[in-house]
Symmetry: C2
Subunit: 80 residues, 2 copies
């Protein structure tokens, strides 16, 4: 079973890395970019086909390791 | 106009960072994780509502800065 976890900074948290990318795109002449925020993505392969168990395992993985829930939020998507 | 760019390593490319996460999850006791691959996500806000122009700008941004197309692939998703 394949899942994708997307971890992004909460909107209230400043993102200097995103700001730097924004500035770099501007100086490269890429038109129309107003803002950039960066996050992380994890493509996870899980054993078995039990979706509820997979969701539980991924929630645990995010809370323990993948995301800093003080400043980040995460979203889990399953490949159909 | 909001778009999300997801940059991932090509499947033929080794991902030591993903392997490290996989090992860490195993030692934390998270069950059922078979493999992890890490990538990057960029949430981009673009001026205007011209989707074709936005796609062009994002392709340029990816090729010039966001992705290393030798080892990475990217996918652009638009928020509806």
């Amino acid at each position: 079973m394949k899942a994708r976890v997307i971890v992004t900074l909460k909107s209230a948290v400043l993102d200097p890395q995103g700001k730097a990318i924004e500035g770099a795109l501007r100086s490269l002449g890429v038109a129309g970019v107003q803002s950039v925020r960066q996050g992380k993505v994890f493509d996870v392969e899980l054993a078995g086909n039990d979706r509820a168990a997979a969701e539980g395992a991924l929630k645990e993985a995010c809370d323990k390791l993948l995301a800093n829930t003080v400043i980040e939020t995460y979203k889990v998507e399953f490949a159909e």
